[in-house]
């Protein structure tokens, strides 16, 4: 199989309300910066385009169709879309390159979560007979999971607060972060509970924004003369939708995906984990067997800003950034979908020759 490289990554600022900006206007500046980074002019200069978005975030069917207006898709382009986080659009694009139908691809994800009540919107992705009619929101489900961890003594509230504190501090170096600051563990613990046992700080904020990545065969990346990181593995895995039948204190599917993606064949310097709740970062790190030798979420992760439908792709981009800056040799990026980490994707990235 052809080696595939990432050559460009850009993300918009993560903001709580993008205001008077529609989908096209949200995406276009990010794409323009991404093309510029890769020395390209438009989507015409890549062989394939794939995006991830969700109609229900902003409450309009076919939200992704207007995304095409940002691409300059005349003459027509090879293009596809997943109603999932754009990390899965990356997955689809990699298959396209592997099968020899493209040497390069643009992948983007976008979401405006601010127009709706996101945790309530997400309740409608649950079983439509038993759960969605109860309107169990996504934060409440995560709180059930956190309580289970606490009750079993697998974590303490202090452990959770440490995740938050580290996220806020790391995010101080992330210009696109929505929440950052020198916040101590005690500061977090001093906050009252929001959806007990969760504090507001344990939950990722509601964010608007977009991110984009350009990938190419290593040959193409070299021809372009761009620094790159190689995608040495990518895999994903879903688990049962029945939360009562899953061990919510573990993430079996993350571990399976990581193993299949070849995570354990080398040292992991950096891991960007899509953990919308603090305790989920701990679950993921443990499921992956990460120890102190791995820096987790140096960008601040999604607790610092959660671009629904783009956060998973951004995790890949953040690891790419560390690698091309020489801060890491090898890293993993994780993406998730569904309640309480139901569906997980793991990408393994490694330093390219000229990175």
């Amino acid at each position: 199989m052809k080696d595939i490289a990432i050559v460009a990554y850009q993300q918009s600022d993560s903001v709580s309300d993008a205001g008077a900006v529609n989908e096209v206007e949200l995406i276009m500046p990010v794409l323009a910066r991404t093309f510029e980074q890769a020395g390209l002019n438009s989507a015409q200069d890549v062989d394939f385009v794939c995006s991830g978005s969700c109609d229900y975030l902003q409450g309009a069917a076919f939200a992704f169709v207007s995304g095409v207006d940002a691409l300059g898709a005349v003459p027509p382009i090879k293009e596809s879309h997943v109603e999932m986080d754009a990390a899965w659009a990356l997955y689809e694009s990699i298959l396209k390159i592997r099968m020899g139908h493209a040497d390069s691809a643009l992948i983007y994800g976008f979401g405006k979560s601010s127009p709706g009540e996101l945790p309530v919107v997400l309740s409608q992705q649950l079983d439509p007979y038993y759960l969605a009619p109860l309107w169990v929101d996504s934060i409440s489900l995560a709180a059930l999971q956190a309580r289970m961890m606490l009750d079993k003594g697998l974590i303490t509230e202090r452990d959770m607060a440490e995740v938050v504190s580290r996220s806020r501090r790391n995010a101080m170096n992330n210009p696109h972060a929505q929440l950052s600051g020198d916040i101590s563990v005690d500061d977090v613990l001093a906050e009252e509970t929001y959806l007990s046992p969760l504090r507001k700080a344990d939950c990722s904020p509601i964010s608007d924004g977009a991110s984009a990545i350009i990938i190419a065969t290593v040959e193409q990346a070299r021809a372009w003369g761009l620094p790159y990181a190689v995608i040495s593995g990518i895999d994903h895995c879903i688990e049962t939708h029945n939360l009562g039948m899953r061990d919510l204190t573990d993430s079996v599917s993350t571990r399976m995906a990581a193993n299949r993606a070849g995570m354990n064949t080398g040292k992991v310097d950096v891991a960007e984990l899509y953990a919308p709740f603090s305790h989920q970062e701990i679950i993921l790190a443990r499921a992956l067997g990460l120890d102190d030798s791995t820096q987790v979420n140096p960008s601040g992760g999604v607790l610092a800003g959660n671009l629904m439908m783009a956060s998973g792709l951004s995790r890949v981009g953040e690891v790419f950034n560390r690698i091309v800056k020489g801060e890491a040799q090898r890293g993993i990026a994780h993406a998730t979908s569904g309640p309480c980490l139901q569906h997980n994707l793991v990408t393994v990235l490694e330093k390219g020759e000229n990175a």
């Binding site: 205001g19 008077a20 900006v21 529609n22 989908e23 096209v24 206007e25 276009m28 794409l31 438009s42 989507a43 229900y56 902003q58 409450g59 207007s66 095409v68 207006d69 940002a70 691409l71 300059g72 898709a73 005349v74 601010s114 127009p115 709706g116 009540e117 309530v120 919107v121 409608q124 439509p128 007979y129 969605a132 009619p133």
Partner: protein, 171 residues
């Protein structure tokens, strides 16, 4: 009631979600002018095509449309349909004519109602003009124009539709 009738085979699931919609920057510029009774298009900096209502980009070039261009309320029928079924949530009584209209000075069609005409006489290339509501009723809405109606100008040949200047059609 027999046992048979007591068997549940279906449920009603109300799924109602509230959103606070914010119009994009380009649509907001269009709507703000529309409230003043002005039809404002936006020109693509690359290919010069004029879009109305602009949605944020020239879809052909994939770049933002920046320059505002005032348009006429005269238009040409690019195509149309006569709709005989009601639109969900819309009080208009069928049958009614929904036309793809290109405003003079723009290069893309918008959809609006055609009225004050025999449905059977509507045709591609026909010249029409907007019939506005009283100024006091103007809002951020294309409904400021109640509908378009035919005007006494010669038809535009098909190859010229979508290419008329804002000064209109001399025939």
């Amino acid at each position: 009631m027999s046992d048979e009738q007591d068997v549940i085979t279906g449920i009603n699931a109300p799924v109602y979600l509230k959103y606070n919609f914010t119009a994009g920057a380009a649509p907001s510029r269009f709507l703000t002018q529309l409230k003043k009774g002005v039809l404002m298009g936006q020109r693509c900096p690359k290919c010069s095509a004029v879009y109305v209502p602009a949605r944020g980009s020239c879809a052909l070039c994939g770049v933002a449309t920046e320059e505002d261009v005032q348009l006429s309320d005269k238009a040409t029928v690019e195509s149309f349909t006569i709709v005989s079924i009601p639109i969900p949530g819309n009080p208009i009584e069928p049958p009614f004519v929904v036309a793809n209209l290109v405003l003079d000075g723009s290069n893309i069609s918008l959809i609006h109602l055609l009225s004050e005409c025999e449905n059977s006489e509507v045709r591609i290339g026909q010249r029409v003009q907007g019939v506005w509501k009283p100024e006091s009723e103007w809002d951020y809405s294309m409904n400021n124009i109640r509908y378009f109606k035919p005007i006494d100008e010669p038809d535009v040949p098909a190859e010229k539709i979508g290419k008329l200047p804002v000064t209109g059609w001399e025939g």
